[in-house]
């Protein structure tokens, strides 16, 4: 009994902080998502109407929300595998015994992660410039006609994906590198003796041994990529023709630009529900793969 009380004493402060700064605001947001809280309500609470699930119903009827969801899914479905592949590839190269200047490359690949997004976005806007950009200049050398990256509705999202993958792959690369270094060398030696080639070693040793790392990286990347916001905010402001509006960008505009806090809270809960389901699926999938 005594030890139980002691346990509560230790956990109490943390629980209190979590309760006040996490659960209470989440609860308040949930209540708010059932009202039409806006600037009129800010002026006078008499102007607040309880609207039940209307925010949710209207949200599901808003074409821009569906477009934002589609854009976000596009970003996640293309961006996450691309980012993981880039991270894994870079980690494998850096882990190879044949690579020189490992420290230099590790730093160089990790540098984009720690640089300010706004600063690199400005540089990428120059790289992606239609007429003076380096990327189009390179394509021109290959005989490919210039692409209007950030102003063509079909190309804006691929440009954002390219930028996001470049910006973020270094982080997962470090995690993969740690995972690779924890694989004992004798496994590779044994496989080598059994006649396994490079591909065989990757397929039957590296890949399964990286399983838990892979699961973690995919969950982290997925939840990170679902929260796409800063890239379009800085590079395209959601344009052209709203082809880079993400769910979070949509929520930001509803909440902090138009002060429709009720509707914005509803967006937050819908996004939460989607991400929760996808994470559950990932865990289920990982368990299935283990069994």
């Amino acid at each position: 009994m005594n030890s139980r009380r002691a346990a509560w004493c230790f956990a109490g402060p943390a629980l209190l902080v979590i309760g006040v700064f996490f659960f209470l605001p989440v609860l308040a947001a949930l209540v708010m998502s059932l009202t039409d809280f806006d600037i009129y309500a800010l002026a006078n609470l008499d102007n607040l109407r309880f609207v039940g699930l209307r925010n949710y119903a209207e949200l599901l009827q808003t074409p821009l929300f569906w477009q934002a969801l589609g854009n976000t899914l596009y970003f996640v479905v293309v961006g996450v595998p691309l980012s993981i592949a880039a991270s894994l590839g870079a980690a494998l190269l850096l882990n190879s015994r044949l690579t020189w200047f490992k420290g230099l490359f590790r730093t160089a690949f990790f540098a984009p992660v720690v640089t300010s997004l706004v600063a690199v976005a400005v540089i990428w806007r120059y790289l992606l410039h239609t007429r003076y950009g380096m990327i189009n200049h390179g394509l021109d050398q290959l005989g490919i006609s210039p692409v209007d990256w950030l102003n063509d509705p079909d190309w804006a999202m691929p440009a954002i994906i390219l930028f996001a993958v470049w910006k973020n792959f270094g982080y997962n690369m470090i995690i993969f590198l740690a995972g690779l270094q924890s694989i004992p060398d004798d496994l590779y030696e044994a496989a080598g003796l059994d006649g396994a080639g490079v591909w065989g070693q990757f397929r039957f040793i590296t890949w399964p041994m990286l399983g838990p790392t892979m699961l973690m990286v995919s969950i982290l990347s997925m939840s990170g990529y679902f929260q796409l916001f800063a890239e379009p905010y800085v590079m395209t402001q959601g344009g052209p023709v709203q082809s880079t509006v993400s769910v979070l960008y949509f929520m930001y505009e509803q909440g902090f630009k138009w002060w429709n806090l009720g509707a914005a809270s509803a967006v937050a809960f819908v996004l939460f529900a989607i991400m929760f389901c996808v994470t559950l699926l990932q865990l289920r999938f990982a368990k299935g793969a283990e069994a």
Binding site: I39, N44, R49, Y132, D148, N151, G239, P240, Q242
Partner: protein, 428 residues
């Protein structure tokens, strides 16, 4: 471990020191004599206005002004948060399109009585359209501080080469002139720049019609009116006839200097930028003109910033004196020198600095004709929808007829709460 202990000790010592400092400071005599006015201003104006304060403090003994500068990008959010947290300043700068919103919030003090009694603030000296932006529901909520509108920046030499000695005055002439330029500059260059991330050019064209953009006291959208249809058609034609480029421009000054575009609808901040950024041999080649209208000179946007008093201010008398001081012609002239912002009073436009500036003359003519945006808090949101729908029209995804129907539906939806509130007010 040892290291951890010594670090903890050092931390404790620092904290003790900090606490001691705090106690000492609060004990020290800190009596503020007289009144402290909190004044929030945005961007460049916030930086510069501090230079005008010593003179005010000298002529108003016992009053001290604390200026806080807000970045424009965070200003709206910060003001709303300050209102929600009841920590509003006494006096602040407010973009005049935000006046209806803050008036609806009840954050502002009406100024009708002060102005009626004032010898310094004389409404008849102000550009009427600008003054009007501060009147919401029949009450005056702010005094114009500096003004802003949209006019036509154009390349004089390009227009001359296309056979035009004077800038176009009507929409028809304008289209003709742009087509003539386009024929000369070829398929890789254009006649006019209409940035897709700005709603102001289309809004200015929309304001040129007699029909208002919203109808029934701001209860419903009025985009299906014949007037707005004409404006949107003109805007769409500029893209359809390849007179305006679709792609985004990184450096307007460079493109304008290169002749990539010959017309550009923009505001007063570009007066200084064009003078600074275009090379000396091109300074004779650009000029400003008032916006062409459906059939001759017409309206443009009444923009700019006003000075307003907070409803919660404890020193409204002193704060109003600060507004009066900043509205005086001589202070305004000084302010124009410091910022390049254009003054809202006609008498200021007669001082040599402005009267002799040939590039600024179009602005003066335009200010006499400006019209305020619809005075509802939801306007900026509706204008953003207008920009997005117009962008879809220029990409060929919507026709003008479909667009105006869609716009009205969106505006009506956004205005639903306003209609409910107005109906409730009438029922009482």
């Amino acid at each position: 471990m040892r290291d951890g202990v010594s670090r903890l000790r050092r931390f404790t010592r620092t904290m003790l020191l900090l606490v001691a400092c705090g106690v000492l400071a609060s004990c020290a005599p800190r009596k503020e004599p007289g009144v402290v006015l909190k004044f929030w201003a945005m961007g460049r104006e916030g930086e510069v206005v501090t230079a005008l304060m010593p003179e005010f403090e000298r002529t108003h003994p016992g009053v001290r002004v604390e200026v806080q500068q807000l970045p424009w990008t965070a200003a709206h959010e910060k003001l709303l948060t300050a209102f929600a947290g009841d920590v509003m300043p006494d006096i602040f700068q407010l973009g005049n399109t935000w006046v209806p919103e803050f008036a609806a919030l009840g954050a502002l003090l009406p100024l009708d009585a002060q102005v009626a009694a004032s010898k310094l603030v004389t409404p008849s000296d102000y550009f009427p359209g600008i003054w009007d932006t501060n009147i919401v529901d029949g009450k005056l909520w702010g005094a114009p501080w500096y003004v802003d509108t949209r006019v036509l920046f154009y390349r004089r030499d390009m227009l001359a080469r296309a056979g035009y000695a004077k800038p176009p005055q009507t929409w028809a002439e304008w289209m003709k002139a742009m087509n003539a330029i386009k024929r000369r500059v070829g398929p890789d260059n254009y006649a006019i720049l209409l940035p897709s991330d700005e709603f102001e050019p289309l809004m200015a064209l929309g304001l040129q019609n007699d029909e208002p953009l919203l109808r029934d006291g701001g209860r419903y959208g009025n985009f299906r009116s014949a007037g707005f249809r004409r404006s949107l058609q003109l805007y769409a034609d500029m893209f359809a006839q390849k007179l305006a480029p679709m792609n985004r421009i990184t450096n307007v000054y460079h493109e304008f200097g290169m002749g990539y575009v010959s017309f550009y609808i923009s505001g007063p901040w570009n007066l200084g930028e064009f003078k600074r950024r275009l090379p000396a041999d091109q300074q004779q080649n650009w000029m400003t003109a008032i916006l062409p209208g459906p059939s001759g000179p017409a309206a443009s946007i009444a923009g700019g910033s006003s000075l307003v008093l907070s409803a919660s201010s404890k020193h409204p008398r002193e704060a109003w004196q600060l507004i009066e001081y900043l509205s005086r012609t001589d202070t305004a002239a000084r302010f124009h020198e410091l910022t390049g912002d254009l003054p809202p009073r006609r008498s200021n436009w007669n001082v040599p600095a402005l009267a002799n500036d040939m590039y600024a003359q179009a602005f003066r003519q335009q200010f006499e004709r400006v019209k305020p945006a619809p005075k509802v808090p939801e306007w900026e949101r509706i204008a953003t929808e207008m920009r997005l729908v117009a962008e879809r029209v220029t990409h060929g995804e919507l026709t003008v007829d479909e667009a105006v129907v869609q716009l009205d539906a969106k505006a009506d939806h956004i205005l639903e709460k306003r209609r409910w509130m107005l109906a409730r007010k009438e029922a009482r």
